[in-house]
Symmetry: C3
Amino acid sequence: MPLVRISVSEKMPVEKRKQLPQIVYDAMRASINIPENDLFVAIHTHGEGELVADAHFMGMQRTGNFIIVSITMRRGRTVEMKQKLYQEIARLAQERIGTAPDDVMIVLAENGLEDWSFGKGVAQYVAAQQN
Amino acid sequence: MPLVRISVSEKMPVEKRKQLPQIVYDAMRASINIPENDLFVAIHTHGEGELVADAHFMGMQRTGNFIIVSITMRRGRTVEMKQKLYQEIARLAQERIGTAPDDVMIVLAENGLEDWSFGKGVAQYVAAQQN
Amino acid sequence: MPLVRISVSEKMPVEKRKQLPQIVYDAMRASINIPENDLFVAIHTHGEGELVADAHFMGMQRTGNFIIVSITMRRGRTVEMKQKLYQEIARLAQERIGTAPDDVMIVLAENGLEDWSFGKGVAQYVAAQQN
């Protein structure tokens, strides 16, 4: 169920951008236990000067390749699972598209099972609980 | 007070896109009890390959017409109200712009009354509570 | 740690848009006690008819200059701090780029310390707590 929004510079080459959904999906599969094919990602591109991060906050060396990965998911993942998630996203982004780990910011938000409809106008996880 | 963000493909015809705010507003009026004229919607358009959803997860038949409706609102709506909201958004999207119910994902996030300023630099709902 | 998303019309002049991150940063520094250089902002531009707000809800006179400032931050700020934040954002937006206070909507969302990675695939605030 995670919904992933990824903010990138419009200068990021399209062939790199398009690998981001699979990168985050693979990282989530390896860390926070999502079901197969649970892939929902919106990539937001930002013009020059419209994706802004301090270059050094928290000891990083950020560049124009900076990206923000925002993930909304149901409550309940442990701190350890979240740590593994961060590690995996950063690792795969570096391995597959050469994004430096310093350039990957990740922010999580949590909600409830009743806060999701995957289609057909139905709250699938509520229906599942009631059956 | 809901703040609605809707992600659509840039290929969705403009005349359909522009009906989305009214569709979601009418659905919220009919389900979660929002006041008249409480309409705040940002539509985000995504380039090819930048709005990604698994074609079949949870038993759907998703197409290039897939949209994501993200709604932030204060805490307190019941599960039944949320279910009605999903049903109404999907129903009206199909009726008015022909979007298949399988192509409508909806995700909710909740916050507090003090988390909203509608203008003038004031937290209107806090002020209202204190009066 | 706040992550700030600002939605503006594509018609907002670039030289005004580019002042928004500093405006919100300065307001946060003056109100909610963020550390120096804690600046992370994504500006989203919306086409005509795609940033929609009721012109008068809650007694405002909204115009085409309407903007939405969404801020995600850790739980724990008081209502008074949030009120000061709203006041400061509206004040500085008017002072520096001439945006009317009626045109500034602000919405907050909160999460936990473990929900942030500022880079390197690490949950910096968790590591800090454990040391």
